[in-house]
């Protein structure tokens, strides 16, 4: 019973963790924008989340056929970080596209915050469910 209450929370905390992971990866890319030979990395968030959710509790969270479905298959990006595509060739073979990295960083920050709000909402839901009727 308690599982059902906290399932959503567990899933969202996984998403939050992956967002934090991606944020760190993007920060690494931005930090190494001037390092010769460095190749930018990124993770396929949807695939990584699918992998993480599958590891933890199977398809328990797919409450709707359209949830987390997507294309599926393909190469496993995982949390290790796949190499990002190089936008243009540099003389020092550095593969960081600063515009793309900054955009991805801002995007990921907003999505992280959104996930935070979802977690907050879930916590509030659980708390509301636990409240007594008799309380003033």
């Amino acid at each position: 019973m308690l599982n059902r209450l906290t399932d959503t929370l567990a899933f969202q905390s996984q998403a939050l963790q992956l967002r934090a992971e991606r944020q760190r990866l993007l920060a690494s890319n931005i930090a190494n924008a001037d390092t010769p030979g460095y190749q930018a990395r990124d993770i396929d968030f949807a695939q990584a989340l699918r992998g993480a959710a599958g590891e933890a509790q199977g398809a328990a969270l797919r409450t709707h056929a359209a949830h987390l479905g997507g294309a599926g298959g393909g190469a496993a990006a995982g949390g290790a970080g796949a190499w990002a595509l190089q936008a243009q060739t540099n003389l020092d073979s550095n593969g960081v596209d600063m515009d793309r990295e900054r955009a991805a960083f801002a995007d990921n920050a907003v999505r992280y915050e959104a996930t935070l709000r979802f977690v907050n909402g879930s916590v509030r839901n659980v708390l509301d469910a636990m409240k007594s009727h008799n309380a003033a």
Partner: protein, 134 residues
């Protein structure tokens, strides 16, 4: 928590960029330095960045691997009246290109700003994470 690593990553980058800025400042300050009687003159310096991993493959910071000296000969100007002119009347200046150094400076300062902004964003996100459930 992996987000805390961002401060290490961006901190190392900021430190490396400020070292680069330091070297640019030295180079620019010595743009008009001439060779002494022994013929030795200031040589332009250049930092070499290297990826520095913090624990895992996913948190890649930066460090300055070495500071290289530019060994190209300095520019020689014919000025027999100059007190430091050699027997042929030539003065040897440091091999610093002020244009190159200015470009380097702008690039370093932009990268510095980028990394500071990354840290600010990470700080905001972490503060919001700390308020979770309240």
């Amino acid at each position: 928590m992996s987000m805390f690593q961002i401060f290490n990553i961006s901190g190392s980058a900021v430190s490396a960029q400020s070292q680069r800025l330091n070297v640019v400042a030295s180079n620019l300050a010595n743009v008009d330095t001439v060779a002494g009687p022994d013929g030795s003159v200031y040589k332009a310096r250049q930092v070499v960045f290297q990826t520095h991993l913090f624990g895992s493959e996913q948190s890649a910071g930066v460090r300055v691997a070495e500071v290289q000296e530019d060994n190209t000969p300095g520019r020689r100007v014919h000025d027999p009246k100059h007190p430091q002119a050699d027997a042929q009347g030539y003065v040897t200046y440091a091999n610093v290109s002020s244009i190159e150094e200015m470009v380097n400076m702008i690039s370093a300062s932009r990268s510095y700003q980028n990394n500071v902004e990354v840290m600010n964003t990470a700080k905001n996100l972490l503060q919001k994470t700390l308020q979770l459930g309240q």
